[in-house]
């Protein structure tokens, strides 16, 4: 059986260091909230709709109370008070908060315990909605089983949700196990979630609650037709991480891209905001049974895949630590990594194999996600198809859980229907033809593959040591991950972070934290 040398003491030390890194941030998280978090709570209480300008009601409410400087008490506090003041239901309460002639400054009147009492049945209903969706998903999966691992994951990205639905079904027909609808360019920087079904988007399709429903319907139909459960994926990193996580939870998504640091590094989202938001997002995700996908594969599209391989592993430990703090179990933690080494390097295949196998061994129960070559793809689609085949060979040999399929047209355009078909056909061939290869072979103890695995773990440990000593804030500021530097108070969305008051009210989060 294929194994690379792995010092379990070093792995344990890496986990310990990553845990300390996350502990440090957690004390910050526990003392803060954000506009994104508070909007999520409103949505969870069932507040819906948009105003006459198209702004989501949850934004109107939260922005008003943020501007008044009282958001640190938790929007739930004001919601409960509106209810006690005579609102018919929570939607009405939210509308009063948004449009009422006077703003509740929270001075006299009902206190936090009174608010908690009046919200109690609604809190229960909010949690039940997440639980029901989870139960329905699990029942569906029990009835129609998903395919075997590595699960074949493809992306659709037409910009029009109805075309996406058609392409999702086509992909399922051709053998896909997982369909992701990639988001429109820069949606992660919007500080609101667009409303309704959308048919215009560049580089992808907007993530909206209605769009989630449309794809769920298509993938459910495909599951019935083709006798295989089709997992639905979307993307939550960005300024609306927690809101999108909640939408995914109640619309029965199976996976969500959700990385503790991606937004900071690649979207220049403020670190404080990102850490606060990812925590609440992951609390919801943990409750809903969604599988997280992390984005370490992106590191290698900016930094060098040979020199910076260890940063992927180090970040995976950090992502794991943050996820554990939010209650996400290991078997729902799809850590990402990628086949991105320059193909002109001699024996690059061996280096890829070493890293993929090392990560498999370090995270044995995690549904790790293997990402295809992109950086060294060219318009030569035939050569690209071969690169993808070798990538798949590593995927099946090292028992990856989830494989995002390479597309031969990667450097040309968003995948067309036949591109996806041919990629699935080739991947099925490689998986089938080399199914048990990893169980049959062993590697030379002091060969290239073994040495590489040892080196990557050693370097990851060294980096984690440094990050723990400096704190993650400092590490991010000096470019330890992906060669990108971000300062603690820089980036987008910092203004949306608030210190929690001593009597901060957030009953939904409290329940999520208690379970």
């Amino acid at each position: 059986m294929l194994t690379v040398p792995m010092d379990t003491m070093k792995v344990a030390r890496c986990r310990e260091l990553a845990g300390a890194v996350a502990d440090d941030v957690q004390s910050y998280i526990d003392a803060h909230t954000s506009v994104g978090v508070e909007r999520t709570i409103l949505r969870a209480y069932g507040v819906d709709g948009i105003d006459d300008q198209g702004a989501p009601l949850v934004n109107v409410v939260v922005d008003r109370y943020a501007k008044a400087g009282v958001l640190g008490r938790g929007i739930s506090f004001f919601l409960g008070r509106a209810l006690l003041a005579g609102a018919a239901d929570l939607q009405d309460a939210a509308e009063r908060l948004a449009f009422g002639p006077t703003l509740d400054e929270g001075k006299e009147g009902p206190d936090a315990p009174a608010v908690l009492a009046v919200l109690a049945p609604f809190t229960k209903a909010a949690l039940a909605r997440i639980d029901d969706a989870r139960d329905e998903r699990e029942a569906n999966k029990a009835r129609i089983k998903p395919g075997g691992e590595p699960l074949k994951y493809v992306i659709v990205a037409t910009g029009n949700i109805y075309d996406d639905a058609l392409q999702a079904k086509a992909a399922a027909y051709a053998g896909a196990d997982i369909v992701a609808v990639i988001r429109a360019t820069a949606q992660s920087l919007l500080d609101y979630v667009p409303h309704g079904a959308t048919t215009e988007g560049y580089g992808g399709t907007f993530a909206t609650q209605e769009n989630f429903k449309i794809i769920r319907r298509a993938t459910d139909e495909a599951a019935l037709e083709y006798g295989r459960y089709i997992l639905q994926t979307n993307y939550s990193s960005g300024l609306c991480m927690a809101e999108i996580a909640w939408m995914g939870a109640v619309e029965r998504l199976d996976m969500l891209l959700n990385d503790a640091m991606y937004g900071i590094l690649f979207r220049d989202i403020n670190p404080c905001r990102n850490f606060v938001d990812q925590y609440v997002a992951r609390r919801i995700i943990a409750r809903s049974g969604i599988i997280i996908n992390t984005g370490e594969d992106n590191y290698l599209t900016t930094a060098d895949a040979v020199e910076k391989a260890h940063t992927v592993l180090a970040s995976q430990f950090v992502n794991e630590a943050f996820a554990r703090h939010a209650g996400v179990p290991d078997d729902k933690l799809g850590l990402g990594h990628a086949y991105e080494i320059d193909p002109s390097i001699e024996n690059s295949f061996l280096l890829e194999l070493a890293q993929a196998q090392l990560i498999r061994q370090v995270f044995p129960t995690h549904p790790i996600k293997w990402m295809p070559p992109t950086k060294f793809k060219t318009g030569d689609i035939f050569q690209s198809h071969v690169q993808d085949a070798l990538f798949s060979l590593v995927g099946v040999t090292t028992h990856q859980s989830i494989e995002l399929l390479g597309m031969f047209s990667e450097a040309v355009h968003n995948p067309m229907l036949m591109d996806r078909y041919l990629s699935l056909k080739a991947t099925k061939y490689v998986f089938n033809t080399a199914r048990s290869l990893g169980d049959e072979i062993s590697i030379k103890p002091d060969g290239i593959i073994a040495k590489r695995a040892v080196q990557v773990l050693d370097e990851a440990l060294e980096l984690l040591d440094e990050v723990q000593r400096d704190t993650i804030w400092e590490a991010i500021a000096k470019g330890s991950f992906a060669d990108v530097k971000r300062s603690r108070t820089g980036g987008k969305g910092y203004k949306g972070v608030f210190e929690r008051s001593a009597d901060y009210v957030n009953p939904i989060l409290e329940v999520l934290e208690a379970t």
């Binding site: 027909y173 820069a186 920087l189 220049d268 229907l417 036949m418 078909y421 992906a482």
Partner: protein, 261 residues
């Protein structure tokens, strides 16, 4: 092929000269059948292929079929009759940018960028400066040759000028997305006037970008260059490197080429 080559009609080269062999792949919305195969053959014929051989017919989705076809293309082309400018400056490669700045300048180029005025759209400045870049072309942050500061949106001209001077910026990038009632022009012009008044206009290379900006407009407003829609970070990087490393004409040529692309 050199442009002065003698006139010669070329057909696609497959196995032998002038056989015109090419392959074609496509999807038609119908299930596989004898009729589908014949439809694919005729479809290929309509594209100018003769003796069409449909080598693959497979269902690729419910009601869709994937085809591979081979055939002889009857078309021929005479390259000597084609008129294209052969001297076309392209954006410099990443390696070339890093190399030139290191070798010729010996320090990083300091760039400060912002979307100025009331404009809240950072998409343009983010695409050029931020790591992720645009359309697979990584932003200036990803280069060792640049030290870049993205001040974001709604930055006042005075604020931008002050920050740029404090950082000793070599270059200022101004993005203007909103163009209602020509506010982009007024705003952009105001910064140039400010720079002239404070006496540092000539010490800093100033670039303007946005969906309604082009090189001509940039120059008219007093900038050193204007970048329109579709500009990639590497275009801006190349311009700055040529400019900073002393070849201002080449910088302009890069720009002209990127605009015709």
């Amino acid at each position: 092929m050199h442009p002065t080559s003698p006139s010669k009609l070329l057909r696609a080269y497959g196995d032998r000269q002038n056989d015109g062999m090419i392959q074609l792949t496509f999807v038609l919305e119908l299930p596989p059948s004898a009729r589908a195969k014949e439809a694919a053959r005729q479809f290929a014929e309509l594209h100018g292929l003769s003796e069409v051989l449909v080598t693959t017919m497979e269902p690729c989705a419910d009601g869709f079929t994937y085809f591979v076809a081979y055939g002889h293309s009857k078309h021929a082309i005479d390259p000597s009759l084609i008129d294209v400018p052969e001297l076309r400056t392209e954006a410099l490669s990443r390696e070339e940018i890093e190399h030139r700045v290191k070798a010729r300048l010996g320090r990083k180029i300091i760039v400060v960028g912002a979307c100025t005025g009331s404009d809240a759209h950072t998409v343009g400045i983010d695409a050029i400066l931020n790591y992720k870049g645009y359309a697979g072309d990584k932003g200036l942050e990803s280069y060792k040759a640049f030290e870049s500061y993205n001040l974001g949106a709604q930055v006042e001209n005075e604020q931008l000028a002050e920050r740029a001077r404090a950082l000793n910026a070599d270059a200022i990038l101004v993005s203007q997305i909103i163009t209602q009632r020509n506010c982009h022009k007024e705003n952009a012009l105001a910064l140039i006037e400010l720079a002239r008044k404070e006496g540092w206009r000539d010490k800093t290379v100033m670039l303007l970008g946005g969906p309604r900006i082009d090189h001509k407009l940039g120059l008219e407003l007093g900038y050193d260059a204007g970048f329109g829609p579709g500009t990639k970070p590497s275009d801006v990087a190349s311009f700055l490197v040529e400019w900073m490393c002393g070849d201002r004409d080449a910088a302009g040529a890069t720009l002209a080429a990127s605009e015709t692309a």
